[in-house]
């Protein structure tokens, strides 16, 4: 099912976490994003030509944006056939979630649901978006807009955040695919911080 010279990267996540925005920033795509309405109702596919990249073992990268989950219980059910079709064809699954929340149950629920669809060779990356919105106390500095970087207070909080997300995801994966803390990449799709790191992770798969 997996083509040897084609890398399939699937983007998945809760609605509103910034999947399409992350995709656009990463690959220079122009997919519709809107902070009000869920734009991605059907899987969207882009083919990127990477044949000119020396040392990269794939000719082509297929990037798939899946409809977001969590909007309502009924919508989630209607998207299920899409996931069943696409997840078994996936090399790298980029699971986008956001840093400025403590609620990861919906991620956990879907990870559990998808587990039987995962190839054991699947490389899972958790793209921890919205680092710029990471909450700080009143006397601490927020995201540095000028430099496009998280503040020191935010940087200090990131490791704690990764620890928390890791615990929840690792628990749900239950050893089905290998998953290390280094596979959680903090970033902000709006200001670009962390995107290079994410891109490297997706292509090197390790």
């Amino acid at each position: 099912m997996l083509k040897p010279d084609e890398l399939t990267v699937l983007f998945f996540g809760k609605t509103g976490v910034g999947k399409s925005s992350t995709l656009n920033s990463l690959f220079g795509l122009n997919w519709a994003t809107d902070n009000a309405i869920a734009c991605t109702k059907e899987p969207q596919i882009a083919y990127l030509d990477y044949s000119h990249y020396a040392g990269f073992s794939y000719q082509q990268v297929r990037v798939v944006d899946m409809p977001g989950i969590g909007e309502s219980l009924t919508d989630d059910e209607t998207y299920m056939p899409h996931y069943e079709e696409w997840i078994p064809q996936t090399h790298s699954l980029v699971w986008v979630t956001q840093a400025d929340t403590r609620a990861y149950k919906r991620d956990e629920i879907f990870l559990t649901k998808f587990l039987p669809l995962f190839q054991t060779s699947l490389f899972l990356i958790v793209a921890l978006n919205k680092i710029d919105c990471l909450g700080v106390d009143e006397d601490e500095k927020p995201f540095n807009l000028e430099r496009g970087e998280p503040s020191e207070a935010q940087l200090n909080r990131i490791s704690e955040k990764i620890e928390d997300v890791y615990r929840i995801f690792q628990g749900a994966l239950n050893g089905k695919v290998s998953f290390e803390k280094e596979q959680i990449i903090p970033h902000t799709s709006v200001y670009g911080w962390g995107l290079d790191n994410l891109k490297t992770k997706i292509f090197t798969r390790g």
Binding site: A38, G70, S72, T101, A103, G135
Partner: protein, 279 residues
């Protein structure tokens, strides 16, 4: 109209109010920091988006706009309409004159705040008496409610019971429950930005300015993980039946309401099982 004011029937208020918090974050750059108000354009958009959410929630869960209000705890925006809904839907009446939300003008530009203070003093003088929380509150409510509605609310205070009203506050983890409590009841509890939020029910007793008290049950946030939710659900089920009102805080600037939808259905069920607060 009358029955809608107190939920489905006057005898049994719905005892559930849903607050859509963080509407200030719906539109980027939509907040006028000088006035501490949304810009005109943002205000329309906030209203439109909130109506959308209200419509969607009522489609899934059999609750209506009588039970939902949008606001921003952080900016102290629309705290009065929210408080009005809380009062209308609670089983025991609230002492409205005792509940004074935090002042939004405190967050505005000093010049704007000074102007607001001056205007308030002028109004106070022209009435020949000091403006207290009660008068200010009823002045504001008059703008929102019709005479009939206002009278009904007043009646409700008169019928008020001796026991302090008990409110359970609940919401997804990190949605702004503590900030909401602080703004609506003008208190100062610490908020948590870290991964650890409220993990058990915390009883918070408010001494009200003219005697009496208000009991708030601060419940741990849901939606963090399946294991935690299983634990917390036991706490909710134990605490909710005894409350005069369940106040559910939702985040208006997101779209993922599946967890909330599930919770609304559960709360409605628990409340139905105990149509009057179990004391």
């Amino acid at each position: 109209m009358l029955s809608s004011l107190f939920g489905k029937s006057e005898q049994t208020p719905v005892r559930l109010v849903i607050g859509l918090n963080q509407v200030d974050k719906i539109i980027p750059d939509g907040w006028d920091d000088r006035l501490n108000m949304p810009t005109q354009k943002a205000e329309k958009e906030i209203e439109r988006r909130s109506k959308d959410i209200i419509q969607r929630l009522s489609r899934y869960t059999h609750i209506s706009s009588d039970n939902i209000e949008y606001y921003s705890a952080l900016k102290r925006y629309r705290l009065l309409p929210l408080l009005t809904k809380i009062i209308k839907n609670a089983y025991a009446g609230f002492k409205l004159d005792n509940v004074q939300p935090a002042d939004p003008f405190e967050l505005a530009d000093p010049e704007v705040k000074a102007f607001a203070d001056e205007e308030r003093q002028k109004r106070a003088k022209s009435k020949g008496k000091e403006v207290n929380a009660k008068d200010r509150m009823f002045d504001e409510m008059r703008k929102i409610l019709s005479e009939d509605e206002l009278n009904l609310v007043l009646d409700k205070f008169r019928q008020e019971r001796r026991i302090p009203p008990k409110v359970a506050i609940l919401g997804k983890a990190g949605v702004g429950k503590t900030t909401t409590l602080n703004s609506v009841f003008n208190a100062q509890w610490k908020t948590s930005h870290t991964i650890v939020g409220t993990t058990k029910a915390q009883m918070k007793e408010f001494s009200l300015s003219s005697g009496g008290s208000l009991a708030v049950v601060d419940l741990p946030g849901y939606g963090r993980s399946m294991a935690e939710d299983r634990e917390y659900e036991k706490i909710y089920q134990e605490m909710i039946p005894s409350c005069d009102l369940v106040f559910l805080v939702l985040q208006a600037n997101t779209r993922d309401f599946a967890d909330d939808q599930e919770m609304i259905m559960k709360i409605s069920e628990w409340l139905r099982d105990f149509p009057t607060p179990e004391r």
